[in-house]
């Protein structure tokens, strides 16, 4: 019994060592964001300052149009995710039922293609369409990330829902659309939640599309925070605060939906970009 307990304590400390880079990183990130310039430049470095620089956060929002960029991010991620769910959930259903493995391969290859290779043609297309100054180019190109995630996750879910339920609904007189809407869809709700969360996260985090397509008014948060680095006198406090603001929504989502995310990623092992 004694060695069993020792074993558990050993595992706990092993896990702690492995998790420590993550914990220390985020702690340091918070620390940086709450320190005045003097404290951030101190040597040896200070973890917990005497005075907290809450003003760093105020500065982020005051000086950088951050609210606008946040709104852009919400619009781009939200629209791209909703559109992806709208077309990707039925598609996942159809592909699972048709056992259309070839369409799954298209999704796999889409997953392999570097984001930049979509950018060149779509950039030219958007330029030609004259919509470069709006959010639409980003929304559309984010579909490259969100649609494969949704389709991939949903194929997995619909493949596991029993066919007999749908046959029963068929016999009960339901049309294909009714079978989908009244039987298959409600049963796949957990899958939709997973697809939704993963799609939100990977769309929110996306940087490469914004860096090419965003203008001054249409920046998303990752682009905005990157621009702070390049255009401003680098001042660590506000920069770290901005970085935290950008990533906080995703981290909160991760905390609350840990189980779904783990399930989704272990099953499908998807990641966009």
């Amino acid at each position: 019994m004694g060695s069993r307990l020792l074993n558990k304590i050993g595992l706990f400390f092993g896990a702690l060592v492995l998790v420590s880079p993550a914990i220390l990183f985020f702690l340091w990130m918070i620390s940086l964001s709450l320190k005045f310039e003097i404290d951030n430049g101190a040597y040896p470095p200070i973890l917990i300052p005497e005075r907290f620089a809450w003003s760093n956060y105020a500065k982020v929002f005051e000086e950088n149009n951050f609210l606008l960029y946040m709104w852009n991010s919400v619009l781009v991620t939200g629209t791209a995710t909703l559109l992806a769910l709208l077309i990707g959930v039925p598609a996942g259903y159809g592909i699972a039922r048709l056992k259309a493995e070839r369409s799954a391969i298209v999704i796999m290859i889409a997953r392999m293609t570097p984001g930049l290779s979509y950018l060149i043609p779509l950039f030219l297309l958007f330029q030609w369409l004259g919509i470069l100054g709006t959010l639409w180019p980003q929304i559309i190109i984010h579909l490259v990330v969100t649609v494969p995630i949704v389709v991939w996750v949903m194929i997995g879910y619909f493949e596991t829902t029993p066919m007999e339920l749908e046959e029963a609904a068929n016999i009960d007189g339901a049309s294909s659309w009714q079978v989908f809407r009244l039987v298959a869809l409600p049963i796949a709700k957990p899958g939709i939640v997973v697809a939704f969360i993963l799609s939100i996260i990977f769309s929110w985090n996306n940087f490469v599309f914004g860096v090419v397509l965003a203008s001054r008014e249409t920046r998303t948060l990752p682009v905005a925070v990157y621009n702070m680095l390049s255009y401003e006198q680098v001042s660590w406090g506000p920069l770290a605060a901005a970085a935290l603001v950008v990533t906080l929504p995703v981290l909160v989502l991760t905390m609350f939906a840990q189980r779904q995310i783990v399930a989704g990623l272990t099953a499908g092992a998807v990641k966009g970009g």
Partner: protein, 352 residues
């Protein structure tokens, strides 16, 4: 309600022919059971009637209408699946009312029909529960409730009782039969349990490798099996088969055992070919006369005794209703009831 006509129906999945040629006429209100060993195509045939599988050749009609090209949802049939296929996200009431909801029936009317079905099946208290909150037997009832609420032309059942324990199975058997008597809806019921078939059916269809072996009332099948397959399939414990031929008016087995010819068989019609003599274990009695043999196995259940007797190389299983003081290894004499014996052609398998 309607009759069902299955006319020279065939089914192939790709190159694999599953149903070769099946014809069955089912009268309005009849309770027909499809039996056969696993993989013989029972479910496939049922699913073709339901419209879940296409019909490769032949014709299926419900009532007057050929339904080959009708979709499942347009056939007005109800089906109970082996694992019930209850919608997990709907309550019992919603499960039962689903078909009516699809038809955009009046909600009040739906509710009253659900309630009536629930009271028939004793489900009144469970209407607000979800399937996961029900026991196996209750789920089974809900599945049936879902079928009867619709008042369909035909009920289809695919091994509805196979997931239940033995006791519940006996009870549900009675309930389904009673339900049929009450509603009088044409019913097609698939099972590989021949007790179910014998106890419930008006008419049994024995399927084997995609072909109909025999169609008939349960006792007809028991009393006059058309061939060796039906003879061996119907009845438990299974019928004894003894190979041999007819010589000088009596049956002589390959091992030299002699048996009286079954009643009503003329020696002339049986002479000159390889034969199989069939006798059910329950048609053998230990009267102190007849064949002498040695008891090789003996199992007493209380109500009956099952024994196997070695009669000069032929092992014959017997079912005795009376309490006999038999012991393994003991000598015994058994007598065959001529009136209940059968004779089959060994090559064709057909009854003589």
């Amino acid at each position: 309600m309607a009759s069902v006509t299955i006319n020279n129906v065939q089914k192939a999945f790709g190159n694999a022919k599953i149903i070769h040629d099946v014809s069955v006429d089912i009268a309005d209100g009849e309770f027909v059971i499809l039996v056969g060993p696993s993989g013989c195509g029972k479910s496939t045939l049922l699913r073709m009637i339901a419209g879940l599988e296409t019909i490769s050749a032949g014709k299926i009609a419900i009532g007057e209408h050929t339904v080959n090209n009708l979709r499942a949802r347009d056939r007005n049939i109800a089906m109970v699946f082996q694992n019930y296929a209850l919608y997990p996200h709907m309550t019992v009431a919603d499960n039962m009312g689903f078909a009516l909801r699809i038809k955009k029936a009046d909600p009040a009317d739906t509710a009253s029909r659900v309630k009536r079905a629930a009271s028939i099946l004793g489900l009144e208290k469970l209407l607000d529960r979800y399937p996961r909150q029900l026991s196996g037997g209750q789920r089974q009832r809900v599945a049936m409730g879902r079928a009867i609420v619709r008042d369909p032309q035909v009920f289809l059942f695919d091994e509805p009782l196979s997931n239940l324990d033995a006791k519940l199975r006996v009870q549900m058997r009675g309930e389904i039969k009673a339900l049929h008597q009450r509603l009088g809806t044409t019913t097609i019921y698939v099972t590989h349990d021949q007790i179910e078939a014998m106890t419930m059916a008006d008419k049994i269809v024995v399927l084997h490798d995609g072909l109909v072996e025999q169609i008939g009332a349960p006792l007809d099948l028991y009393d006059r099996p058309a061939n060796l397959f039906v003879a061996g399939f119907i009845g438990s414990p299974a019928m004894n088969f003894i190979h041999g031929h007819v010589e000088e008016g009596i049956f002589r087995s390959a091992g030299g055992l002699t048996l009286p010819l079954p009643e009503g068989i003329q020696p002339a019609e049986a002479a000159g070919r390889e034969l199989v003599y069939g006798i059910r274990p329950e048609h053998i009695r230990a009267t102190g006369q007849g064949l002498s043999g040695t008891v090789t196995l003996m199992e007493a259940t209380g109500s009956e005794i099952f024994a196997t007797v070695d009669c000069g190389g032929e092992v014959i299983s017997c079912l005795f209703r009376e309490r006999l003081a038999l012991k393994q290894g003991e000598a015994v004499r058994i007598e065959i009831d001529r009136a209940s014996a059968h004779l089959f052609d060994a090559r064709t398998g057909q009854r003589i």
